[in-house]
Symmetry: C2
Subunit: 762 residues, 2 copies
């Protein structure tokens, strides 16, 4: 009934009026305050902690150090659990760490009656450290003789994968091939969600309850239990409204520690809220990557073979680890089709920097930046049209990935590119901006990408749903999948309305997940929720509809097959949808029937064994002030094929957000470390140059709607893709404007001025 329409968000009123309750709004005012003591060295060992003085400070309740916590190493990545140990995430951190692995590592925690006492106590704790050499880059960390950040990882390599498709040596032996090689580098950045990392914990009936701003309540339950050595059923996680996550909250961050603090204090209520500064260094960041790409190309532009060597900076702890670098390789292997062979070597390497984890795009922004920069560089060198060159080598329509079984059913790339070209006036501007001189020059650039929908077959895809019919014909919908600001609840309501045949306002989506009662779902990640959650909704709505129509048949004397539900009314199909009774009338009759009383609900689990390709591109126009080394983004469009649009306005909003993230990624954002101390230098909103609306041109969006046949409602990934193609499109526009292909982001004056100098432009 409402799929495809831009219905207003179901939570719009609550959020606009400020009535929506976030985790911080729910903490009782007399909660104890937990504050973490972060290490002031980047690498070493805590020899001892003297908290005598701190303990004397009035209001301090307890100080717990890395010497007190259980000797349990646990994983933090927000992945479904696997009973196969080889598919489990690295379990390499403790609640507090004696072995310091980054500047700001968690070494102790103060619990106090108020923030002031907690802050005073933090300052009064004295720590005696033993220090080790600091390793800030994969290069440094992999050097022979470098100290090991985690003892079981030689050369600090968390994981290394090597792959070869075809016979690389034979392929590259072909005569007349042109060789291209460049190292592309992407920086670590932070998610910068508005709501901080915050949770509070207490005990109830001998069980731990953690209320947390998380994307993944059911997974956090498992991890808290693992970290504390408790049976999983002893932990309950509640997820209120969430003010953004972008993947940072797809990790168990401080929930395990928070739970432990309450446990240690006999179940008292303890709040653990991170400051913005702590979020920068102590949560997760996007993996910085060095990607060395080689390509063997015929003079006509056909790629024969390529090599991909990536070094992914994992930072101090494992988190999502190697799966991020691995995801990038999928793009490399599938976006362009080398005629003969491919070779890959990827390393995920521990360093003494902030832990890298999941972030919107999950390894593909890095890979796409490298791949699309290289494609542009090759086309530029060979003087080929960059778009034609791409299509010459692109994944063809009909391509099927043997692993994921994804099929490129449509001509999405062409359709997307046509829209992007038209919007940006590609042909005219490519022409017009040729041979510019002077200090300020313009250019247009573009980049392509594809993205997976959901995570099957890498890990399981499962989503459960429960629906409860009310006596007025409205219903509640419960899902483990989470609204984190993206509009999931609205989409879920539209889907329910569509399949059940009720009005949108008859659908009440329960936004709060509570692992005690909410059907299991893994949560917001992998651009999976509309796809997998949608299937769960469709299955459950069918179950409920069948129940309803069977009962309606028995009440009306009609055949079930003759009935349907339209706009909340049970109708007789064969009589031009003649209304028989409302859903409310039926529900009331059934619930209060002296003959057969029934509370009408349906619940089921959906296991998805499919995945789908999302496609798209970005086109950007820039103006480069060469002497200043300054890039101004003049115009930009993202074009997406995310299947059928469920809610065009919400889809557009998703794309806008992703584009903003891509702009910051390409032009200004980066985490900078002091090489001497390993301290993060710019971990505040003053110093970290997050892209804001002031930095954006008009953000244009367009869509190609190829109905996805594996999805319940024809849609596929749109959560993450918008963040992927923007940075290389900007970078390629700069190349078009200046003739200089910068191999790294962000494109700051620090990078551009030397490059322009070297190119003789200044």
């Amino acid at each position: 009934m409402s799929i495809g329409q831009s219905v207003p968000r179901v939570d719009a009123y609550e959020k606009v009026t400020g009535r929506a309750k976030y985790t911080g709004d729910l903490v009782e005012r007399d909660a104890l305050i937990g504050r973490v003591l972060h290490a002031s060295i980047a690498h070493g060992l805590v020899r001892g902690i003297d908290s005598t003085e701190a303990e004397q400070i009035p209001g301090v309740v307890q100080i717990i150090t890395c010497f007190d916590v259980p000797d349990i190493s646990f994983p933090t990545a927000g992945h479904p659990w696997s009973t196969d140990p080889s598919h489990q995430d690295p379990a390499d951190r403790k609640l507090l760490n004696r072995r310091v692995r980054l500047y700001g590592d968690d070494i102790a925690v103060v619990v106090a009656e108020d923030e002031v006492a907690a802050a005073q106590a933090l300052r009064a704790i004295k720590v005696d450290y033993e220090t080790y050499p600091i390793l800030l880059s994969p290069e440094a960390a992999m050097q022979e003789g470098a100290p090991l950040i985690h003892e079981n990882c030689p050369r600090n390599i968390l994981k290394h994968t090597a792959m070869e498709d075809g016979d690389f040596e034979a392929a590259t032996g072909e005569r007349g091939l042109l060789y291209f090689e460049e190292t592309y580098e992407t920086q670590p950045v932070q998610h910068c969600h508005i709501e901080p990392v915050i949770s509070f914990a207490y005990m109830e009936n001998g069980r731990i309850v953690v209320v947390s701003s998380t994307q993944i309540p059911h997974i956090v339950r498992r991890i808290v239990a693992q970290a504390l050595g408790l049976p999983w059923g002893k932990v309950r996680i509640i997820k209120p409204f969430v003010g953004g996550g972008f993947g940072n909250k797809q990790d168990a961050l401080y929930e395990p520690l928070n739970a432990y603090l309450s446990l240690r204090l006999g179940g008292r209520l303890v709040k653990l809220e991170l400051s913005r500064e702590e979020i920068f260094f102590a949560t997760r960041v996007r993996h910085g990557m060095q990607i060395r790409l080689s390509a063997y190309v015929r003079p006509n532009g056909r790629i024969v073979a390529r090599q991909y060597r990536a070094y992914s900076n994992q930072g101090a702890y494992g988190s999502h680890g190697h799966s991020i670098a691995a995801k990038g390789t999928n793009v490399f292997r599938q976006l362009y089709q080398d005629e003969k062979a491919r070779k890959l070597d990827i390393f995920t390497v521990y360093t003494n920097t902030a832990t890298a984890g999941a972030m919107r795009g999950y390894g593909t922004p890095q890979a796409v930046f490298a791949i699309e920069s290289q494609m542009e560089d090759i086309a530029y060198t060979l003087n080929l049209d960059p778009i034609e060159f791409r299509f010459m080598n692109l994944m063809p329509q009909g391509f099927r990935d043997p692993f994921s079984k994804n099929v490129n059913y449509f001509d999405s790339f062409h359709q997307c590119v046509e829209q992007g070209k038209a919007y940006i006036h590609w042909e005219e501007k490519r022409q017009a901006y040729q041979g510019q001189t002077g200090p300020v020059r313009r250019g247009v650039g573009m980049a392509l990408f594809w993205y997976n929908t959901a995570v099957w077959p890498i890990s399981i895809e499962v989503s459960s749903c429960r629906m409860v019919l009310n006596q007025d014909g409205s219903l509640q919908v419960q899902l483990g999948e989470t609204e984190i600001g993206q509009g999931a609840d609205t989409i879920f309501a539209q889907m329910t309305s569509e399949t059940l045949g009720v009005l949108l306002e008859q659908v009440h989506v329960i936004s709060t997940q509570d692992t005690d009662i909410t059907p299991f779902g893994t949560g917001a990640y992998g651009s999976r929720q509309s796809y997998v959650g949608g299937m769960a909704i469709q299955k459950t709505a069918h179950l409920l509809k069948d129940k309803i129509l069977d009962l309606a048949a028995s009440y009306t004397g009609m055949q079930t097959s003759a009935l349907d539900i339209h706009a909340g009314i049970i109708v007789l199909r064969s009589l031009h949808d003649k209304p028989l009774m409302s859903l409310g009338e039926l529900a009331t009759e059934v619930l209060y029937s002296p003959v057969h009383a029934e509370h009408l609900t349906a619940e089921t689990t959906l296991q998805a064994k499919s995945n789908a390709y999302s496609f798209g591109c970005a086109f950007a126009e820039v103006e480069v002030d060469i002497p200043l080394g300054k890039v101004r983004l003049v115009d930009m469009i993202n074009v997406h094929d995310c299947g059928r649009l469920l809610n065009p306005q919400l889809a557009q909003a998703q794309v806008h957000g992703g584009m903003s993230m891509a702009i910051g990624y390409g032009l200004s954002e980066q985490l900078l470390y002091d090489p001497k101390t390993g301290r993060l230098l710019n971990g505040t909103f003053l110093d970290y140059k997050l892209a804001t609306s002031m930095d954006h041109p008009h953000l244009a969006t367009a869509f190609v709607e190829n109905y996805e046949p594996t999805g319940a409602y024809g849609s596929k990934a749109l959560g993450e893709p918008p963040a992927v193609p923007g940075a290389p499109a900007i970078r390629n526009a700069v190349l078009h404007a200046t003739g200089v292909g910068i191999p790294c982001i962000p494109l700051t004056p620090h990078v551009l001025v030397p490059a322009f100098k070297q190119a003789g432009l200044i």
Copy 2:
């Protein structure tokens, strides 16, 4: 596994440590405060309200009067809805009433930022009344020409029922019959639950949420919607821990008004908490009744015919109305079997006193007081042994009530009486206390009763349950049935453990009901929850167990029929219960299975179409100080056949509480009205003589365990019965001690001294 054991309450720790959250603990501190303006006349009309001055008081947000509220009359009784209008409860009150029907009627409400402003505003509101004559008793209200309290009820009779079994006139024409007639009278009393009547309301996504201390969340949802004229699905009720209800909270009390206040204020959070004084006059009380009993008895003690004429004081509004008086008649018609005929006339009559509603025993304490007093009086007059006389006329073993289909399967009355006699040393003391003289005399007395379990076939009996299995083999249990202090959650956990085969600590009962998600159940009343809720638990646990064993069979290669669950372990029955895998292992394998992933839950609705007799008696010993008119209760025992004991210690606690209530009912508690103004004179804990532990002797309890064949776990009503037989047992002991049979309660000096004087004892 644990049924029949006195396992500790599942909520013991939370309640003992003060950690359990009651409604008042959950209100945010910046809630607006609602306070009701109560009428200062007992009968009349509000001509006008001047709130000009009150509105000027700083902090006053809004004043709403009886002139502002919707013109909707709604019912308040906590009964399942019936789609048959003739089975619906009287809908006779509005959110605020212009027509004043009791001293303290709700005529306006102040919403303010704090309690002080609200209290000041209440005092500043000026009301102009038109006054009518005050009708404080059914007698006065039924008089010809009395003003009508509700216009559609001639002579203020809410309902009148007349019944005749057999040919009464013919039966009473038998020669040689002795005639007995007396009017027995019981007083209105209040429930005196510890937790006040309290709720708070706010809006969320255009829907009203009310958090309330109620016994019946799902019913309150319906009533709030009816009172506000909203679709039922627009209302959500949440029930936290409850500190006692005893039937008072089996009405929608102030939830509809509270919801309306928030609605009027655009959804702002408003708290409505009643003071103890308000609870006394403005909530519900036990119906005072005048019961005129006539009996035609052969000199040998065989009763030939009896007549029962009851006048039940309904107070100002309908609430549970006539069903209370009607329930009393069931006892009259079944406890003793008149040989030939019976005649009944019962009137429920509106008066200008506090509204009478449900209270533990629901009309039977009144009826049993009258019946058991009369039986004692007849035996005393005929010089028959009172117990032998009772058994001569008692409901025989094998008796089957044709309406409820209840069967008296066992010899419960004899078994109970034997235990009571033995404990109190009945024979010796009946003998020993003969012919006492002097001012202080002792006596022993007793009374019998039976009580229904659940409410079928008067109204529907339905209970739904959902179970969610965790990955450690523990599970959550959700029921619409409510823990209100009685220990329901503990019993539910025991039942789940028993049927599913898991350890008690593996069962997590969700104590908070939330009508959005909690399976439908009607709540705590009618001594129904262990009986009907137990059946729902058994049915759901079987469903879940079947699912588990089917999956276990597929994992182990065994036949489902060969498997069972013992203490959380799946075992092979044929191999001496050889352990195969734990429930936790199975749940984890199943949830994370790449082949077939499933979140294991079960949910179902149970409709009960049975009911069961509970039986029992009380024996009391008293010492009467005749000149002082003072009765000291020396010893007391209640003996109950409530079927199989689910948890002996909890059962004993239930009986202790009921006995305490019966002692206050018999000896000290009563609501007194000023005959001139109609104002309640003693509505405070200073003036109202609630029985406390200081007034109790050792409270002895004993049980007869006749396994109830219609119940899932062999149990039947124990919630209400303990409050029933105490008062007549005490009253009959006073008769034994003094020879004076008092026809009313409470037995205060005000009653006893004149009676003893009249009998020539003083």
